[in-house]
Symmetry: C2
Subunit: 553 residues, 2 copies
């Protein structure tokens, strides 16, 4: 989140909460919390539904658990989800956020999320730090810090995209001073948080952790820091035990509950605003809004080649290309690598198919997977989002379908080829043309999609995108054929005819999409599909070429 | 599934499919498949929505993949899910089906599921077989076979419960003879299924696999066996390569598609039948139906003690019991065990709370978790199922929330205490009283629930169930208090008043529930809650006593 956003945010809070937190007693706070919860839930019925994600991070022994317990006791617990992950070294093959997207709050809900992507990030940085020590490397930015700062940038953008898509964030960092930490560690076993402390007695680890925390908190301005340190009089006037039984620092607990209240109220305010006037809309979007210029329509979208390929030649070529493709696809997951060629390769592969109705997406996919076993790939046929999906950021349903390396099965190579028959580009195609997404939303989406693809490509995922181009006359003929072939009738719906009436809008949307999302990490390939056979071979050729860039066999 | 069921099943097929499969050409088959798919999807709108789960198991190299590929090409691929798991040794801590429930088809859908629970079962049996060899043990039933037969019984019951809850099963076992296996193994690398063959060259493994398969197929009568063996003339008239390029045995593929068609049509028929007249209703249910006798209402449900416990005594006792409970709960997951005491203990714990509105479930849970960190447990507040949940067997939403040991993090002890504020017993309480479930459905549910709890208990899960008993006058007073305390008003809804009018029906339902589900693996404990303090202590006492039975510290 940029600094500008943060300031806007603060103003919002002042508007949303005229009562200063010091003027609210416990009864009032509880009532306001419950009221805000219910109002947030109500946004599902009216206004733009909005969720709140509370990230709970920081030092152990700092009272994180006590603060969330306090919150749970004061709100309606049915409307508060509590989720937790322990930090694990981030996967080599997926963006750091991917393992966590399943836990994002549904719009209208509040989720308090311990650990989350920051715990993974910290684990990753700790690991690098340890490796470095043994190398005794010197330099201005050591490797762990380069890694950390880069990932923080990516995560900040991911979080911005959440905010812009109706998932408000509250980031709480719990901190304690060294004296308090020492006090609390002494009596480890009785501590309610003992499970998570394992090696906090290790002073070196604490030092490393604090180094990382400093980088996080200085690079990201949007953390609320909650100080759970023991006031000096504690050790004088009260027994330590008694203090702990209260759940450590009551003040930190109270402040946490206040912050959640403010964030909920702020989420509420933003939910009542029209999307295009959303106060949290990022700089980037505003720039786009100011002057969205339509792309010229390239010839290849409208002037479709129509060669006529003979069946015999086609079948020979097809078999040959299919075998080559299967060979490359299987090599992507060859853990052993080729002898003497260094690092083993291991890449997820995503195929994305877009195109007008009846352009032949299904047929092209059928030929693509023919040489593979159905257990080697997963095909996703994308249609309208269901209700649960509508109540999350629009990319959420795709995030959850991204190929994932399973850490449980070393040998598992399943579901790591994902084929999308229609994709996240629906946002800038059908949702744009049919008005399901606001102007601000679909115009912002180009960058959001580019960021998602960038994060995937950075982890080695090979993204192969096709626009299957057909002309209007050819589409008509295919519609007619579907109408007349009994077992193909299911392929033709009212929607298809309706979409056909908006032919030109769709072509314009496709042109804009090609112009704005043809990034170097995920190029578009436009395939003329008036002749099905030529098209299918072209699809295979392009896939082979893309894979050969990465997989050298 | 009992033998009776199987016979009924066969009759259904004959009714559903007057055309013998030998009289249907490819065009007709494709059309019928698509029509059946759409009709099944339509059951979501009318009749009782029904799903179809196609289990795809058997020998590798047997053409399983080719058969599913064929099916996918002939149906509307958007309405067919293909899922796959590789067999892994079943978890020590959860029933064998638990890892797979997420993939069960939504009602109206068809899912082809490779691997599934049978792959895990086979892995488990293979492992035992290997261990035994080294022991050179002799006996009529060796350990692997005892294990296998027992698990097959449990799975057959699980599958019966699926069938009775609108998830139709089709179990396909692909088989090939030894000659064919030998032929196909020779040319391993080009094979579309090569990824899954790893060690099928190992003759011993094949022998072991076949031993296991024999037990499975002889104990369970409901497998359709598809023979993918090569006909003798293949090796004479056609090149092997050519044969393989067709996807092995066309006949097996065709038969598979026909079986799917028949199963879909049979699912359709059953979806049009009234639940109580469902032809697949099990023997057990029919017996219950014949004579469901109401239980006597025990005094403890209506004659509620009302002591008045002083606050000071309460708080002292509370703190002491909470500490003991936390100690026990933490020991459940102590992997190292106590020195010299043998096997380390490791148990999931489930707390199930039921009771009239305002009986104090929330308050009791609050005290139960107070000494724990929120990362140590998960609370589920159960209300009406959402649409997706309604389109699955009614226990599905609970199956998905069962505590699960994470294989990725050896140290992870998260979310393994699950606390349910209202539970699966809703089926025989609110769903019975309000008529949301048919008579047959809720009467069948007692046994279904007992089976689920039995499967969990068998894996060491400690299940602690409470009925919080309050009297009608006390409830009224609590309703009034809620009405008058601003931050408690959210706790009181229209439903609460409506339920109150049906007080006696709920008491009867509770009595029947206690009589029928108070099994030795999961006892009910009735707590009088007119005095909240006494009740909270009683809840803790019972939890402590239950845990102490298992955890000896």
């Amino acid at each position: 989140m940029s600094k500008d956003n943060k300031n806007e945010n603060k103003e919002l809070r002042i508007t949303a909460d005229p009562l200063s937190k010091f003027h609210m007693n416990e009864e009032q706070l509880r009532l306001e919390l419950v009221k805000a919860q219910y109002a947030l839930r109500e946004t599902r019925q009216q206004g733009q539904a909005t969720g709140l994600l509370v990230l709970v991070n920081g030092m152990e022994y700092s009272g994180k658990g006590a603060a969330v317990t306090q919150l749970r006791q004061w709100v309606d617990p049915r409307l508060l989800n509590v989720e937790a992950t322990i930090g694990t070294v981030p996967s080599k093959y997926e963006p750091i956020w991917q393992a966590h997207v399943a836990k994002l709050p549904r719009h209208g809900n509040i989720t308090a999320y311990f650990g989350n992507w920051y715990a993974d990030l910290i684990e990753g940085a700790l690991l690098l730090m340890k490796q470095e020590k043994s190398k005794d490397k010197e330099g201005e930015f050591e490797a762990w810090e380069v890694y950390l700062r880069h990932q923080l940038n990516l995560l900040a953008e991911f979080e911005m995209d959440l905010m812009n898509n109706h998932t408000k964030l509250l980031k709480c960092w719990f901190h304690i001073d060294e004296d308090t930490l020492k006090h609390r560690i002494k009596d480890d076993k009785d501590d309610p948080e003992w499970l998570y402390h394992m090696d906090w007695q290790d002073k070196k680890k604490v030092k490393r952790f604090n180094k990382i925390a400093k980088v996080i908190l200085s690079q990201q301005q949007d953390w609320i820091i909650l100080d759970g340190s023991e006031p000096q009089e504690i050790t004088e006037n009260k027994s330590k035990k008694e203090y702990k039984d209260q759940g450590y620092s009551e003040e930190a607990n109270l402040q946490f509950c206040h912050e959640v209240l403010h964030a909920t109220q702020s989420a509420l305010l933003s939910s009542q605003q029209n999307d295009s006037k959303h106060p949290l809309v990022s700089e980037i979007t505003r720039n786009i809004n100011a002057a969205f210029s339509w792309a010229d329509i390239p010839d290849k979208l409208t002037d479709i080649d129509d060669p006529d390929m003979g069946k015999t030649n086609y079948q020979k070529a097809l078999a040959k290309k299919q075998n080559r493709l299967a060979e490359l696809l299987r090599a992507r997951a060859d853990y052993k690598g080729k002898e003497g060629e260094g690092e083993p390769t291991n890449h997820h592969v995503i195929f994305a198919f877009e195109g007008m109705d009846a352009a032949g997406k299904g047929g092209a996919i059928k030929r693509l997977v023919a040489p593979l076993d159905p257990r080697e790939y997963q095909i996703y046929n994308i249609s309208a989002p269901n209700r649960m999906e509508q109540q999350h950021p629009y990319l959420w349903r795709f995030w959850r379908r991204l190929p994932e390396f399973s850490p449980t099965l070393k040998e598992e190579r399943l579901s790591r080829i994902a084929i999308f028959d229609r994709t996240w580009y629906g946002r800038v195609l059908v949702e744009r043309v049919e008005g399901f997404a606001s102007e601000a939303a679909w115009q912002r989406a180009y960058e959001e999609i580019n960021r998602m693809e960038r994060d995937l490509a950075e982890k080695g995922t090979i993204i192969i995108k096709y626009w299957l181009a057909i002309d209007k006359q050819e589409q008509l003929e295919r519609f007619e054929e579907r109408k007349e072939t009994p077992h193909k009738q299911f392929k033709l719906t009212e929607d298809d005819w309706r979409n056909r009436d908006k032919w030109h809008e769709y072509v314009q949307a496709a042109a804009d999409m090609l112009a704005r999302t043809n990034t170097k990490q995920a190029r578009w390939h436009v395939v003329a599909t008036n002749d099905k056979r030529t098209a299918r071979l072209a699809v295979l050729d392009h896939a082979i070429a893309q894979l050969e860039k990465v997989i050298k066999i």
